[in-house]
């Protein structure tokens, strides 16, 4: 590792010395390939979807994999199918999906918020004393390793099969990357910077505020991005088990499956994916806004 680090470091120093005035900009040719590649893969995926429907599925099974354009047409491009009309037992259309999205978004946002606050606090405490770190760490690993599904009956029985239970699933799923990345960021500040603070009589608090938190920001945002994605997973999965209250996207997927309205079900799945990607991109953007101007390794 160190043997590899050294030449890279000096090469970087030489590059920095020779191009003192201009920070490295991404080359222009990368601009086009950035879009062509992903679009081609997306095209392949859609083609495969049609292939599955037309070729792999036998006639009676074809409704299980409705073709993409029908899914988009029936669920996303249709505003509202009232319950009971057009043979629909659950209702459907974009309105229904947006309502589910809103419900899931609330669960995910609240769960993520709690996970961030709790995780941040925990990581900060752990960074301040080795004994705190050693005491808490094994249980975080355990929390991460234990299958969340095993807790479902427990959570449901104790706090009810409702909104709060769904939030709790989110917190449990989302907290680990925040703690791990924040702690890693806080602890991996170079010794030289700490000595600079010591020389100038910085208190623990000053050190944390002026050195450790800012230095940890890139790492914290990496954790936030992962956790934000996980919180959406938590919200959708929580829906499968805790069904009281406003139906979220997970609940809709359930209902549509039960009523064999597969176009609508696929629509709900797509909507969950959109929510996850949206949250992921948003935190990536936020991270870039906060540390992009000084942190070299962040890319869009």
């Amino acid at each position: 590792m160190t043997a590899l680090d050294d030449p890279a470091h000096s090469a970087e120093a030489i590059a920095a010395a020779s191009t003192a005035e201009t920070p490295t900009a991404p080359s222009k040719s990368a601009g086009i390939t950035r879009f062509v590649g992903p679009l081609a893969v997306f095209g392949l995926f859609i083609a495969f979807w049609y292939f599955v429907h037309h070729v792999l599925m036998s006639e009676p099974k074809k409704p299980l994999v409705p073709v993409p354009h029908r899914v988009v047409q029936e669920s996303i491009l249709t505003w509202n199918i009232e319950r009971g009309t057009a043979g629909s037992r659950t209702g459907g259309g974009l309105l229904k999906l947006l309502e589910g999205l809103w419900s899931s978004l609330q669960v995910a946002a609240l769960g993520l918020g709690i996970a961030i606050a709790l995780g941040f606090l925990l990581a900060t405490l752990m960074s301040q004393a080795t004994w705190v770190q050693n005491s808490v760490w094994p249980f975080l690993i355990a929390l991460q390793a234990m299958p969340i599904l095993a807790f479902v009956p427990l959570i449901g029985t104790v706090i009810g099969f409702n909104f709060r239970a769904r939030v709790m699933v989110c917190v449990i799923i989302a907290i680990f990357p925040i703690v791990a990345n924040t702690l890693f960021g806080l602890l991996s500040v170079d010794k030289g910077y700490h000595e600079l603070m010591s020389l100038n009589g910085a208190s623990r608090w000053t050190r944390l505020m002026k050195l450790q938190y800012p230095a940890a920001m890139p790492s914290i945002f990496t954790g936030l991005q992962i956790s934000a994605g996980l919180s959406v997973v938590g919200a959708v999965v929580g829906d499968f088990f805790f069904r009281q209250g406003e139906p979220g996207l997970g609940r809709l997927i359930n209902l549509y499956q039960a009523s064999t309205e597969y176009e609508q079900m696929y629509g709900a799945v797509i909507m969950s994916a959109v929510l996850g990607i949206l949250v992921f991109v948003m935190f990536g953007w936020l991270g870039n806004r906060v540390v992009g101007n000084w942190h070299e390794k962040r890319t869009g």
């Binding site: 120093a13 030489i14 010395a17 003192a20 020389l199 100038n200 009589g201 000084w294």
Partner: protein, 261 residues
């Protein structure tokens, strides 16, 4: 535990009184793991003196600076210095990447609780002294290695310390940047008249900068040779190619070879 910071006024103008700014008195140092780092080192540095210590790798040169600054606390014997008036320049520039050059220069003053209005003019002056005033709004990653080092120097200058400790600050720079920074450091030294203690591996750098060069032996570090450098300041760039310069460098090189185990 006889390392005693003495109470001295922190303003350089008022502390030009008698007595050296930095004194090592029969200083020995054994690390808790048993490594014998320094053995009975005694010398002092006055304001207006620039002392450089050269020696083999791992001989304890840097430990001297760490003891003087208080980063190392297991020393046996004396080190007397006003800890509130030390500028410490590290091997790395240790600039905060999330702060602009100017914000980095403000850092130390900030840590000492100075208001930003009070420090503004001294920050301006420091940036001008190292020729970085035009680059003050850049981030460290936008600077060359030499510019980063100059920003690091400017940061230490803001509090106008009496004593400057340099821990191989230019070791990672290319030859041309290093010589240019040597020139600049000398004009800083003449302008500010601080007491300088400099650590380096480069004999040419040592002779060019210093009023006095000390040669340290391999571990445990002892002072084995002590040279007054006779050249007048201001020293021009071409001093490096004069016979007297080469002669002194040769002597130091000879002693240094003897100092290796």
């Amino acid at each position: 535990m006889t390392t005693q910071p003495v109470a001295e006024p922190t303003h350089p103008e008022e502390s030009g009184g008698p007595g050296p700014a930095l004194v090592f008195d029969e200083l020995s140092m054994v690390f808790p793991d048993g490594t014998h780092a320094l053995d009975n080192v005694s010398f002092s540095v006055d304001r207006g003196e620039f002392v450089t210590v050269v020696g083999p790798s791992g001989c304890g040169k840097s430990t001297l600076l760490r003891i003087a600054s208080g980063l190392e606390q297991h020393a046996d014997g004396g080190c007397v210095v006003d800890r509130d008036s030390i500028g410490y320049v590290f091997q790395d520039a240790t600039l905060f990447p999330w702060r602009t050059v100017r914000k980095n220069v403000e850092l130390i003053a900030e840590l000492h609780g100075e208001s930003s209005a009070a420090m503004a003019s001294r920050v301006d002056e420091s940036l001008e002294l190292v020729n970085l005033d035009e680059h003050q709004d850049k981030y460290p990653r936008q600077l060359s290695g030499g510019m980063r080092m100059r920003a690091s120097l400017a940061r230490s200058l803001v509090l106008q310390p009496n004593v400057f400790l340099f821990d191989e600050p230019f070791g990672a720079l290319d030859e041309i940047s290093r010589e240019r920074l040597n020139d600049e450091l000398l004009s800083l030294f003449k302008a500010k008249n601080f007491a300088g203690l400099f650590i380096t591996h480069s004999i040419a750098e040592a002779v060019f900068l210093s009023t006095r060069v000390l040669v340290m032996s391999a571990r445990p570090g002892r002072i084995v040779a002590d040279y007054e450098v006779p050249f007048e300041y201001p020293r021009s760039h071409d001093l490096r190619y004069e016979p007297a310069f080469a002669e002194l460098s040769g002597k130091i090189s000879h002693d240094l070879r003897g100092a290796h185990p």
